[in-house]
């Protein structure tokens, strides 16, 4: 089954100013969609609407052809959203943080192989050896990487990433880009905002907000 997120005639107003009006969007399996626009053009707002977080907008959202409010649970089970705030607890170790996220998607932390998945996820983002250090003692980039470890931790088809490259070093950016492309090639799809230049790829599509 391929996934498909559609938006019809989206419009959103903030402080008597239309951020966007009459926006039609189709996001399908195998695509990386990059939302572009200057600061304050409503990129984050659009991502929040598309990930079902905001309700004060006009227009309609469809998930696999069904109105979003009817299939919200199924949508959320397949969504991975990373916002500006990383959603990582400074007082917990990276491993503890990840096991909470596993539990949120209904996976027991004592389940077979889940500890292994956590370790692999952390190793993938270059945090091997930092598993048990309180996250608050890590650098800003490393904390961000703990959040990014969620990308490999749980299988979610739709990734919605708001500025995922913030505070990440150059090698990290390249690795993350490859990960996005691999995810799209594997049939997933990525919705991303960034001020970084992404390497051109046939999978990449741009949406520009004025």
């Amino acid at each position: 089954m391929s996934l498909c997120l559609e938006a019809r005639q989206l419009a959103c107003e903030r402080d008597d100013r239309w951020l966007f009006q009459g926006l039609d969007l189709d996001i399908r399996s195998g695509e990386i969609v990059r939302i572009e626009g200057p600061n304050g053009s409503g990129k984050t707002t659009l991502l929040k609407i598309l990930s079902g977080q905001l309700s004060d907008y006009q227009g309609e959202l469809f998930w696999n052809g069904v109105a979003m409010r009817e299939v919200r649970e199924h949508f959320l089970a397949n969504l991975l959203y990373l916002g500006h705030a990383p959603g990582i607890k400074a007082g917990l170790s990276p491993l503890e943080n990840l096991s909470w996220y596993q539990a949120l998607s209904g996976e027991k932390s004592s389940q077979e192989g889940s500890e292994e998945r956590r370790l692999i996820a952390l190793e993938n983002v270059g945090l091997a050896g930092f598993e048990d250090v309180p996250t608050g003692q890590l650098s800003a980039g490393q904390q961000r990487r703990v959040a990014l470890a969620r990308l490999t931790l749980t299988q979610r088809a739709l990734w919605v990433l708001d500025e995922p490259f913030t505070a990440i070093d150059r090698e990290g950016v390249a690795a993350l880009e490859n990960q996005l492309i691999a995810h799209a090639q594997g049939g997933g799809c990525v919705l991303v905002t960034t001020h970084h230049e992404l390497t051109a790829s046939p999978l990449l599509r741009r949406i520009v907000l004025a």
Binding site: S29, D56, G87, I88, A90, L92, L104, S109, R156
Partner: protein
């Protein structure tokens, strides 16, 4: 990539949230100790300021203990969702494919375990300082244990509504205090009745009923309030 059907696992998520919050708060003990220290300080000051006369103190002790415990619980409410809001965990909690009401209830349970329950256990000790007549200590602890659970549940609604505001503390108190009054009346009433030798079961039963209502209704109100606060 295959799509995932929602697998349930609500109890796993609730348990993990419980354990996570307990771990976090036990690592930051200051936050847990604050309301307890406040409670002890207030109760210590009263005999000094009013009079050390045990007969006078015994009359006002039930009310004093209950008011101080209520304010201590109120003081700790602001931080209930604050840190989760600041680091984005709350946003992720709302996006979890689990019922938000259940996850919110887990957070409230942790608040009660580390605020309400210790206050209830500490109250008899402070009762000695106020010359609380013997025989009412058990009722005091029990009424506080029951009452503070309601206070945590009701207060969490206010905390959820004000979490998006930079300085929501005063507003939170104004929102929540009127709803606290029934709990206060029957809680202090139970201790008073125990001192006078009347039956306490009626008061405790009403406290229990209030808790039952709060348990049924508050989780939904907390979930709705969180959605309003986060999504504007």
């Amino acid at each position: 990539m295959p799509m995932i059907e929602h697998q349930g696992g609500m109890m796993i998520a609730v348990k993990a949230t419980l354990m996570r919050d307990l771990t976090l708060l036990l690592r930051h003990r200051g936050e847990v100790l604050n309301p307890l220290v406040f409670f002890a300080l207030v109760i210590t000051l009263f005999p000094i300021a009013i009079s050390p006369d045990p007969q006078l103190l015994a009359i006002i002790a039930p009310g004093l203990l209950w008011v101080a415990a209520l304010l201590a619980a109120l003081l700790s409410l602001d931080s209930l969702f604050r840190s989760d809001y600041d680091d984005g965990s709350l946003e992720q909690l709302l996006l979890a494919p689990q019922p938000l009401a259940a996850l919110g209830l887990a957070k409230v349970a942790v608040h009660w375990l580390l605020t309400g329950l210790p206050l209830a256990l500490m109250a008899p000790l402070l009762g000695i300082m106020l010359a609380l007549p013997a025989g009412s200590y058990a009722v005091l602890a029990l009424s506080l244990a029951l009452g503070t659970a309601s206070l945590s549940l009701i207060g969490a609604i206010g905390a959820a509504l004000t979490v998006g505001l930079a300085r929501g503390g005063v507003l939170l108190s104004l929102l929540v205090l009127p709803l606290y009054i029934p709990v206060l009346i029957f809680g202090a009433g139970a201790v008073q009745a125990a001192i006078l030798g009347d039956g306490v079961s009626a008061h405790l039963a009403i406290l229990g009923a209030l808790l039952a209502i709060a348990l049924v209704l508050a989780p939904w109100a907390i979930a709705a309030s969180l959605r309003i606060s986060i999504n504007g």
